[in-house]
């Protein structure tokens, strides 16, 4: 499984150029045993998480 693009809540779509790593790592938001995908999006590294139990993708959002 490889993520291809990320659709943000405002509808904008970001292409994922490359997945650098996929490894198990805890998130700072609610998730048990998620897989962390280190992705290159627009030349910048971003974490994308997948929680197999819930079959759910998510990203961490910096709180305001």
């Amino acid at each position: 499984m490889r993520p291809i693009e990320l659709k943000w809540q405002d509808g904008e779509v970001y292409l994922i150029d490359r997945v650098r790593f996929a490894e198990r790592a805890p998130a700072r938001v609610s998730a048990i045993l998620p897989i962390r995908y280190t992705c290159l999006i627009g030349g910048r590294e971003k974490y994308l998480y997948f929680e197999p139990e819930k079959m759910q993708w998510f990203v961490e959002v910096a709180s305001a």
């Binding site: 805890p26 048990i32 045993l33």
Partner: protein, 417 residues
């Protein structure tokens, strides 16, 4: 010179249930948290707590309402065992990178024998630290690891520094470390034993190790010798190879009937139902054939009786199990009162087919093929699709889905394959 001494780790997941809940609810990291059983009625007891709740004096096992009095802002969440099992298995997968000698002790503790792993991965302390870091960075929970030359001291070590720490009790330092600890810290020394020991003037683990063994045996029986050995660092029990601890010793099922059973026919009926479910589980588990049947009987006055006996030859056939159970019952039960509950378990498994001189191998095979066919039908259409005619005599009993309703998986069972 090669190091021939054993190297055992004991890894203990810190505040395990509460730590998993903090992964699910990161916002609860900053508040005192108690994981409770039976949450709905608010009368659940505290099964686990985080560090903040511990600091507030909350103890495991106390009722939540009582804990709440000690700590007003205590937050409770209901226990979610399937999640704890998943996390525990993920942690064990990390252990398995370093050794295949992994012996679980409950859901949150494991012994690891890394004696043979040191050439590849470094010293015991180095392996312990690698594991500690991996668990923290990959899973998000922490472990305390004890490193020692036997299981007892390794366990002692994992309790000495918490959380997220490694403690070594070596052959060089155990007199200065382990021996200074109160004797109640030693595995298997409970309150009662500690009291007895204190009467003998034994306060620390060192006292116990230096006490005359004969005195301990006189006061504590064979435990006296065992505990003396443990305290002296002379525990050489091996760490089980992973998987072995799951070796199933028996397969059984029991049922409290909706009505009291008054006749042998009634009992036979229930034995057939139970034997059916036991045979099905035996077939599923791939354990082969059983050589021994054990029955348990509870009468209306809640007196318990039990008896076991050898089958004429190993079998996995439901009817043969039921027949043997019935024979045992006849030999055991005197009908003082009607029967309230019955149980059937089989054990003593063997894989091999055994040829019998008198037995009819063809007949036996036929019985097994029949069982297998029935089992297939039940898997496809539910447990009640095919039933024994005998059982239809009691409608209500016939309506019970005995197998579906009564499987309890042992702790650590890998339900997700």
């Amino acid at each position: 010179m090669p190091d021939f001494s054993r190297c055992i780790l004991h890894s203990d997941l810190n505040n395990f249930y509460a730590s998993v809940e903090m992964l699910r609810h990161p916002e609860l990291k900053e508040v005192p948290l108690a994981v409770c059983g039976s949450f709905e009625d608010r009368h659940g007891v505290v099964l686990a707590k985080n560090m903040l709740a511990k600091a507030a004096g909350i103890t495991t096992g106390e009722p939540f309402f009582q804990a709440k009095k000690k700590c007003e802002n205590l937050v409770s969440v209901p226990a979610d065992f399937p999640s704890y099992v998943r996390v525990s298995e993920a942690v064990r997968a990390i252990y398995a990178r370093y050794t295949d000698f992994i012996e679980p002790f409950g859901i949150d503790e494991c012994w690891l024998d890394v004696t043979g792993s040191r050439k590849l991965f470094g010293s015991g302390v180095e392996i312990a630290n690698t594991i500690r870091e991996a668990v923290k960075h990959e899973i998000g929970v922490t472990v305390s690891v004890g490193v020692s030359f036997n299981k007892i001291f390794a366990k002692l070590g994992s309790d000495m520094k918490k959380p997220d720490a490694v403690t070594e009790i070596s052959e060089a330092n155990y007199r200065q470390t382990a021996w200074k600890l109160p004797v109640s810290d030693l595995l298997y020394v409970g309150k009662a034993t500690a009291r007895k020991l204190s009467v003998l003037g034994v306060a620390t683990i060192g006292d116990l190790a230096q006490k005359d063994e004969a005195v301990l045996v006189r006061e504590l029986g064979k435990w006296g010798k065992l505990l003396h050995d443990y305290a002296a660092g002379e525990d050489n029990s091996p760490v089980a190879l992973s998987g072995r601890e799951r070796e199933i010793k028996s397969v059984g099922n029991s049922l409290t009937c909706y009505r009291d059973l008054e006749t042998e026919d009634d009992v036979h009926l229930l034995f057939l139902l139970l034997a059916d479910s036991v045979a099905a589980r035996l077939a599923e588990s791939g354990l082969g054939r059983a050589g021994t049947v054990k029955i348990s009987v509870t009468d209306r006055e809640l007196n318990h009786f039990g008896k076991q006996g050898k089958l004429p030859h190993p079998t996995r056939n439901a009817k043969e199990i039921a027949d043997c159970a019935m024979e045992l019952f006849r030999a055991l039960y005197t009908w003082g009162y009607p029967v309230r509950a019955l149980g059937v378990a089989v054990s003593d498994f063997s894989e091999r087919e055994q040829l019998t001189f008198f037995g009819d191998a063809q007949e036996e095979e036929k019985g097994e093929r029949l069982d297998a066919a029935v089992q297939k039908m039940r898997e496809k259409y539910g447990n009640r699709v095919l039933q024994r005619a005998t059982i239809l005599g009691d409608k209500r009993l016939a309506e019970m889905d005995i197998k579906g309703a009564h499987i309890i998986h042992p702790e650590g069972h890998r339900g997700d394959g």
